[in-house]
Amino acid sequence: MGKVIVVTSGKGGVGKTTSTANLGTALALIGKTVVVIDADVGLRNLDVVMGLENRIVYTSMDVIDNRCELTRALVKDRRVEGLTLLAASQKNNKDDIQPEQMKAICEELRSNNDFVLVDSPAGIESGFRNAAAGADEALVVTTPDVSAIRDADRITGLLQHEGVEPINLVLNRLSPEMVRKGNMVSKDDVVALLNLNLIGVVPEDRGVISSTNRGIPLVHDNSSQAAQAYMRIAKRLTGQRIPIPEIREKGFFSNILEWFSGNR
């Protein structure tokens, strides 16, 4: 029996979809079978971030309306063994799906996969409720800014109320330079405020944008700190105990190296 993990945040634009795509890929790269589900009905994006947009035929709506079997609706990622995507319908809206229907899909998928990752939409309404309905565990994603942290706390309260356990925190877009200068709350501040178990810190990295441009999740190339951070989170999700290293500030030299490797 696999685990169902909802990736959520409350606030939009903090990196839920980026995290789902990279963690799904990372888990598959270390040999797990994974389904990533886009639960952002009407505003789907996980397909483009993963570069699978041209191969989608069916969506979770087709499965719910019995137009297609669940296994046929899954799109295989050909770059890595064991990774599939269940896309969301663009033509429907969030109220067209009921929590029990999402739960049934998650239950079926967990029976023959190690991990089911559900990419939640922003907000605390029906879209979030559907995404969380079938989840045992949650990854709460936040950035180090005031509004994202506040919303993360709010969503944590709702998840606890639903009995989702454990709830782990992913801190995304941390800039060690800004923390050093006192212009960004630190990792320790965020953990103290939210009182959650921190499962990983992903640095601010321009590579995220170029990898999204290409539709190739960052973790396919393990050279950046952000990719390595996602790989470590994936390993922690499988139960490995790996300490969370401090993020290094990029020096002059690594910027030059990056420039030469075209990793921009």
């Binding site: 800014d145 942290i149 405020l193």
Partner: protein, 82 residues
């Protein structure tokens, strides 16, 4: 030019963010807003004023997190002078 601007240190914005977050998160968790706290403050002041003298303007009330619990701290300084 203000000499304090040259020598005085501006508080780091990260510290301000942390303080502000502490307050809003606490209020969100307890599900009580600033307006409710102000109202409660007014009502308490009314009751207290029947029993002793204090300077209303100096009175303060705030919600704080201490460990895993929340404390409502009311500070009504007793005014002897009146």
């Amino acid at each position: 030019m203000n000499i304090l601007k040259i020598f005085g240190r501006k508080p780091k914005s990260s510290n301000i963010a942390q303080q502000r977050l502490k307050l809003v998160i606490t209020q969100d968790r307890v599900d009580i807003g600033n307006r409710d706290i102000k109202q409660m403050h007014r009502e308490l002041a009314e009751v207290l004023a029947r029993y002793f003298n204090f300077t209303i303007s100096a009175a303060q009330m705030s919600l704080r997190q201490e460990g895993n619990s929340y404390v409502l701290i009311a500070d009504f300084p007793y005014d002897n002078a009146r």
